[in-house]
């Protein structure tokens, strides 16, 4: 039992369901939803099946490695299937069985929890999936992205890998998990959490962050004008990350916060509109 086993099992299972196994995206994102493999692919009308591991950064969740289950970078296993099959709930339940969980001995519940991301103008209807009281998955029927209705409706299944592994290994702390037989989560991640928490909360230079934010914003604008939507969207992701860092530095005032989110959303919305309209393709 280890995190990498869990990942391999999920990859095997969803590949068998016809998903393409995407590499993790190489920019800082807050969630698997934000990467192009989800964001762009839910916007068009074509069928799509993808699964991937996405390291997800939430700077304000940093705890210097001192909290057993809160980290500024965690790992999601993201699945998108469009259109959502009618028996998707069963397919998902079977994925847990495939991990060796005998559900007859446990309590699996779909608990109302609609999901929303204001920065990328996305929301969906769904549940948090609870296994014996532990939230292991977010199960969402996507309704909107980039401010646009999405159709046909994709299903997004996001497993929280650390939590699920905690369940499998019956551990109380992320840091006690095994990544592989020989390497522990602590060995890999503790120092990273400690150092990044200090960076996120104390050391990041606010003036630089602001500058980078506006540079990325300008870059996004000029790329949108040229219909280079994929790089433009990357710039939006950078804006979002710089914004998150500014937030964890406590550098954003009341009105500024609302304004910055609106700025990013407006850019993302332009990208989505152009993409859905078929612009930007060769």
């Amino acid at each position: 039992m280890s995190l990498q086993n869990l990942i391999m099992n999920l990859q095997r299972y969803w590949a068998d369901q016809g998903c393409y196994l995407a590499p993790s995206y190489d920019l800082e994102v807050g969630a698997g939803t934000m990467t192009p493999d989800t964001f762009f692919r839910v916007l068009d009308k074509r069928a799509w099946k993808v699964a991937y591991v996405q390291p997800s950064r939430r700077p304000t969740d940093g705890r210097y490695g001192e909290n057993p289950h809160r980290v500024q970078k965690h790992h999601q296993f993201q699945v998108i299937i469009k259109p959502a099959p009618a028996d998707i709930q069963k397919i998902y339940i079977d994925s847990l069985t495939a991990l060796g969980i005998n559900l007859e001995d446990h309590d699996l519940r779909f608990d109302e929890d609609d999901w929303e991301s204001p920065t990328i103008g996305a929301w969906g209807v769904g549940w948090q999936v609870m296994l014996d009281g532990l939230e292991i998955t977010q199960f969402t029927y996507f309704q909107q992205a980039g401010g646009l209705e999405v159709f046909p409706t994709p299903i997004e299944i996001t497993y929280g890998l650390e939590r699920l592994e905690m369940f499998l290994e019956e551990k109380d702390s992320f840091y006690d998990l095994k990544w592989s037989e020989d390497v522990s989560y602590r060995e890999l991640r503790f120092e990273e959490e400690r150092q990044f928490s200090d960076y996120n909360f104390n050391q990041a230079t606010v003036r630089s962050l602001r500058e980078w934010f506006s540079l990325a914003e300008k870059e996004a604008e000029q790329l949108i004008a040229k219909n280079l939507l994929l790089p433009a969207y990357d710039m939006c992701l950078k804006c979002s990350h710089f914004f998150n860092l500014l937030d964890s530095r406590g550098a954003i005032s009341v009105t500024e916060r609302v304004k910055m989110i609106a700025q990013i959303r407006a850019l993302v919305n332009q990208v989505a509109l152009k993409y859905a309209g078929g612009e930007g393709k060769s």
Binding site: N67, P68, H69, R70, P83, A84, P85, A86, Q89, K90, I93, L103, E104, D105, H106, D107, L108, R109, F110, D111, E112, D114, G124, V125, W127, M130, L131, D132, G133, L134, E135, Y141, Q143, F151, P152, T153, F167, E170, D172, G250, I252, S253, V254, T255, R257, V258
Partner: protein, 695 residues
Amino acid sequence: MEFLLEINVEEMPSSHVKTALSDLKEKLTRELEAAKIPIRDLRVYSTCRRLVVFADLAEGQEAREETVTGPPKAVAFAADGTPTPAALGFARSRGIDVGKLEIIRTEKGEYVGFKKIEKGKGAGEILAKVVPEVIGSLSFPKMMRWGEGQFRFSRPIRSLLCLLGGTVVPFELDGLASSDTTTGHKIRSPQKITVKSFQEYKDALKDNMVIIDADERKKNILAQIDNLLTPLKAQLYPDPGLLEKLANDVECPFVFMGSIPEQYLSLPLEILSTAMREGQKLFSVVRGKKQIPYFLGLADAPSDAKGFIQKGNERVLRARLEDAKFFWEHDLKKSLKKRAPALKHVLFQEKLGSYDDKTQRLKKIVAYLCHKGEDCRDEKDAIMAAELCKTDLVTDMVREFPSLQGKVGGLYAKAEGLPAAVSQAIYEHYQPVSLEDESPSSPGGTVLSVADKLDSIVGVVGIGIQTTGSSDPFGLRRNAQGVCKIILDRKLNFSFQRLLEKVLTVYGDKLKRPKKEILDYCREFFLNRLRYICERRGYRYDLINAALGVGIDNIHYSFMRVKALDALKASPQFEPFILMAKRVNNILSGQPACGAVNADLLTEKQERDLFSTFSIIKENVIPMIAKGDFSQAQTIVFRLQPCLNDFFDHVLVMAEENKLRKNRLALLQAISKILTQMADYSQVVVEGEKPGAKK
């Protein structure tokens, strides 16, 4: 004939299930009635995965006799009684033998025609059309699409079982065909089950781990809870909403008990129970008002034979309590006062500024209320509470458990050793959160809660955000009801108008809407909320309108006026008095003000009697009205009725002579002036008058 419908869905929120069931029942009944299908019985059942209707219906529309009329008798038959071509043609076109034609007498004369029995449509045919329409018409606060369909519902519909008398009522909904199958419990028994009747359906589901009756589930849950708690001599920390929700969320209820490590029991009960409720939806177990080291949880499972469910929940809860304990200890390292500056960075509303801005306003409003209301004498404590009441928004505890805002602040203030009046006021200042909730119990909590809510209302109204039927993003209705409830519960006595003006002044030039508009809107808004509260308490609408119709500047008094009318509505003097008051009203309508009464000009005995009685009554009643004792004032004013009666019987108000007429009108105006301090009697509906004529 037995009708059974099951809409099988993915887990619906319990609030959606509730409205869907009542809508389903109402709409189906309405449609069947419209289609003239008699309903002998109709019931609804539900779990989060199924909406079920069971009904006993007639087999179809009742057969009815229909008369088909043809040409007039004179045209249809020749003098000798033989049918003319007109009669033959009519009979042929209707496919009936001409010999079967009868004479039909109508108001316009005699015609030929025949009677036929219209058999009526079968229930199945009607249901096949009506059921998909009704399902399609259900609406929810938030709706979704799924897969490739355009259909919208609360959550995806996965199968439709629809039977009439044991056979499938055929229809399609967004590509999904009705059938005679359902499925059992999603994990334990997911296979397809075919059924022919409601009894079979209910039994089959029970065998497959599903109880479809919410009341039965609730009873089952309560019995299990009782079994576990009785030996411990313990109780659940009351949380009726949670039980309601959980009874919806599980199909196969199993209550399990877990334990809490001793080291967390020192946390306040509010925090412990919230940590349990939020996330895992566990029940906190108390003895008296103290948490004991157990919790209860509800699983959707037949049992927990291996103890995995209990152990898993214990592990998750331990982590949450560890967090809570960390937050508690960590938060206490920084005093609330030191946290205050951070409120500058917490947004209250974009145009209304930060919570620091709100805090500054609250201090001023609270100071004003301490002077005006006699309720709160200790201004210093109240202002300190105002200064600190929002600081818990920047604690880790409230970030983790937002529903505990206010309470956490109060608990920290207490732990810091601030005066009890301060911590209590902070603790209570969001109360009441609903009309069922308690108003703050302390004077400080009372003024702070009123100030906080009014600040929000005036501010949000002042920047032009409209509260409409379904949209109330800032909870203004709840806030206004809270203010009214506090005023009524605590019998607060102050001018509402001046308080609104004070809040406006405190806002300075931040609000763009003209002041008068804001004041008018707020007054109307509160009038409606107050009316709603009175209606909910069961008062007659016309009495409410009468009592509130003369103003709500003093909200407490206006409610006392409602109560006075209500208390006296059954007394024998009530109706004659109301009729008399209406008469006074009618005669005065359109008359200019006639000044003071001149006693020397009262020529008739009856008007002199009226004047002297009135003078005595007035003297008695004015201080009662000032004290808000409307019941007694009203009883005394009743005594005017016989004098007024005599007056109207013997004295001509509209006398020829100008001086006399003006004087008599002046007398009635003086009386009316007192009456309108108690109610607008013209709004009261009395027997003999058409109800609803005035509303």
